[in-house]
């Protein structure tokens, strides 16, 4: 069956919402409610100082946290330089910078 039609099922890409720990996502929603306003336009990522040099991606980071993929999020997190440009370009008024701070603090507490 494999690859006859040019499709495969890769187990690594299956995200099991039931198993994943959603406490990080919950914490973020609680501390920065505006994070729910995100429409995923990617403006933050387009302007990002760190994002211009590496694969650091705020939009993706948000997604990872919301899905409960905390370890991956933790690995990415520290690349941010906190310059705050994302905050100025966000059309939805998401407090992106505070979101990053909240994540950093959570990671610091959880030792992710």
């Amino acid at each position: 069956m494999n690859n006859i039609w040019g499709f495969t099922i890769s187990s690594a890409r299956v995200i099991d919402y039931d198993k994943n720990d959603r406490s990080f996502a919950q914490y973020m929603t609680d501390t920065v409610p505006s994070s729910q306003l995100c429409i995923g336009c990617g403006g933050c990522t387009a302007t990002c100082t760190a994002g211009a040099l590496t694969d650091f991606n705020i939009r993706k980071l948000q997604m990872l946290v919301k899905r409960g993929e905390n370890r991956e999020a933790g690995e990415q997190m520290h690349k941010c330089m906190l310059c705050g440009k994302c905050l100025l370009v966000c059309p939805r008024g998401v407090d992106t910078r505070r979101m990053i701070f909240a994540m950093l603090k959570y990671i610091d507490n959880q030792k992710l």
Partner: protein
């Protein structure tokens, strides 16, 4: 020997206070770092000590900085500070002239009218009596203003006053009692035995007409001594600890002890030197625009001192420096706030290895736009144009692959992470071989000056443009535009650059003076230092600031910070908001 048991409350209070203060200050000073102690010892016997004495006279006694807020408020504080000081000094001199021994007990001068039989004249006794009455009258007039301030603070230049703890209100009552009680005690004594001058003598005669002053005067001296004693005993645990602490702090400050990024012994001195006068409250835009009333420095320091929860206040500050600029005690309020922010990032040397080593062409002038500069391409375009017009060869440090200067990280307390970014940028700047580093961003400018330890001239583009114009390399023509200048916090208050922007604006436009000029400018609300308020709150703050500037009806609002420009422009589209470089480029 002059003695009466009623002096005991005063003497007990005074002695306990002195012992407490000496022990506390010695303990704090012992916790200074070795370097700080060395600095103190080195500067102790120098002109700096005299300078400190002058400052103590001007600050702690005359309160000259409060006169900037309001002359009435300044006078009120001066009455208490200078008035009480003169009462003690002139009283002491009077007692010396009378008694001629330098070592008369301290209570002798304080209760002189009690011990001195009025009919016994001594050299200049009338002059002294007159002076003492005059000083007492001055203090009482200050007291009347203080009462009035409680009722209607606006007339004394304050929209809001500090909310005090019940304990502080208690000691305030005691303080307010001291001088009227002294007045009564002296008047009653004068009424029964004579003496005093225009104030106490006349009051004494008046009271004697309907009161048994003979039997009232002695208890009144007991009351006077007791309120003094109680005041001294309560003082260390109240806000009045600022009276002695401010003086020690002024000495330490003049001897060169600096507030660093950590909360150290000098921070402790500052914590206790805050008089909670509340002048910072009206300055804070978080209060005036957003109605937040617990985050102003006076409350922040109060919470630290009394061990209340202040975790939210740590983050909730724009660090615009308006409070610091107005503070009559000269406290480093921003650094104190910053000293409470903790480093919680897990950064290693490898975290930022993704930043490529830049290849920078060499030139005499290096230009650094900064992150925010890149967010406002108009500013960069204008700068390029000006460099070309002036025929300056320059190298653009962060044209490609530019990174943050590190200040946003420092402002959030994450110095470790910042140090790595700083090192990267520093290498790039040094590799360019530049002699002058020009930056468009006041935030970067501050960091370059304070944290980069660069051995080259660092200039903000306003300074640089002003220099180019004065050197005759740029020839802008004056336009008819009415401009209002918003001086960015980091540029004006942070680095004291107020002249150059005005020179530049005068060359290209007709600047309108505002009450927010120079160091009195408002924060645009974009501050990266505030880690607490929401974007909606930011917008409201920014709108209020913008409206304040636009009330002068300029054709263009000019600023010199890309972040300020972006923040203002985000919510506003009718009056153009431009960077000073853009205005110059348009008129060149």
């Amino acid at each position: 020997m002059y003695y009466d048991p009623f002096v005991l409350p005063f003497m007990i209070g005074l002695n306990i206070l002195c012992i407490y203060l000496v022990v506390t200050y010695v303990r704090w000073i012992r916790s200074f770092s070795r370097a700080d102690r060395h600095t103190i010892l080195k500067n102790m016997i120098s002109i700096k000590t005299l300078r400190a004495c002058k400052e103590i006279f001007l600050e702690s006694l005359v309160h000259h900085k409060i006169y900037r807020t309001s002359p009435f408020l300044g006078y009120m504080h001066m009455c208490f500070g200078l008035g009480w000081f003169l009462l003690i000094v002139v009283g002491k001199i009077e007692s010396l002239v009378y008694h001629t021994s330098l070592f008369n007990p301290p209570y002798f001068a304080i209760f002189f009218r009690f011990f001195h039989p009025a009919n016994e004249a001594f050299p200049h006794s009338n002059v002294f009596a007159f002076l003492m009455d005059l000083i007492l009258l001055m203090i009482l007039s200050g007291l009347a203003l203080a009462w009035f301030k409680r009722l209607y603070s606006r007339l004394l230049g304050m929209k809001r006053t500090t909310r005090h703890r019940p304990f502080d209100r208690l000691i305030l009552t005691v303080l307010w009692l001291i001088f009227p009680v002294r007045f009564l005690a002296e008047s009653f004594t004068s009424g029964s035995r004579g003496g005093g001058s225009f104030l106490t003598h006349s009051a004494g005669e008046f009271f004697a007409s309907f009161l048994p002053v003979e039997s009232l005067s002695y208890p009144m001296w007991w009351v006077y001594s007791s309120v003094l004693g109680i005041f001294f005993l309560l003082l260390p645990f109240s806000r009045y600890m600022h009276i002695p602490t401010e003086m020690v702090y002024i000495f330490l400050k003049n001897w060169g002890v600096k507030q660093g990024r950590k909360f150290t012994a000098i921070s402790k001195f500052q914590l206790y030197a805050c008089s909670r006068c509340g002048i910072c409250i009206d300055q804070c835009q978080l209060g005036s625009s957003l109605g937040l009333t617990t985050t102003q420095p006076v409350y922040f320091l109060k919470k630290i001192r009394h061990h209340e929860d202040y975790s939210q206040e740590i983050d909730n500050c724009l660090m615009c420096g308006r409070c610091e600029n107005a503070c009559p005690v000269d406290l480093h309020l921003n650094l104190l706030r910053l000293s409470q922010r903790k480093d919680y990032t897990h950064i290693t040397k490898n975290t930022y290895t993704y930043i490529p080593a830049p290849r920078i062409p060499k030139a005499r002038v290096a230009y650094f736009a900064g992150c925010m500069g890149h967010l406002t391409p108009g500013v960069i375009r204008a700068m390029r144009q000006l460099f070309e017009k002036a025929g300056i060869e320059y190298t653009f440090i962060d044209e490609q692959n530019g990174i943050c200067c590190g200040r946003p990280m420092m402002l959030s307390g994450n110095y470790n992470a910042a140090s790595i970014v700083v090192e990267r940028n520093r290498t790039a700047i040094l590799n360019s071989g530049a002699e002058i580093l020009v930056t468009s961003c006041p935030i970067c400018y501050t960091t370059f000056k304070e944290n980069y330890h660069l051995n080259l001239k660092i200039m903000h583009h306003t300074e640089y443009i002003a220099q180019l114009i004065s050197q005759g390399l740029l020839h802008p023509h004056a336009s008819e535009l009415r401009t209002v200048f918003h001086n960015p916090c980091e540029l004006g208050r942070g680095n004291g650059i107020c002249e150059s922007p005005m020179q530049v604006l005068q060359a290209v436009s007709r600047p309108v003076p505002t009450k927010y000029d120079g160091k009195k400018s408002l924060c645009c609300g974009g501050s990266l230092a505030n880690l607490h308020i929401t974007p909606t709150q930011r917008s409201r703050l920014s709108e209020d600031a913008l409206n304040a500037y636009l009330s002068y009806h300029p054709d263009v609002l000019v600023t010199a910070c890309p972040l300020c420009k972006k923040t203002f422009a985000k919510n506003h589209h009718t009056v153009p908001i431009k960077d000073i470089a853009e205005i110059v480029a348009e008129n060149c």
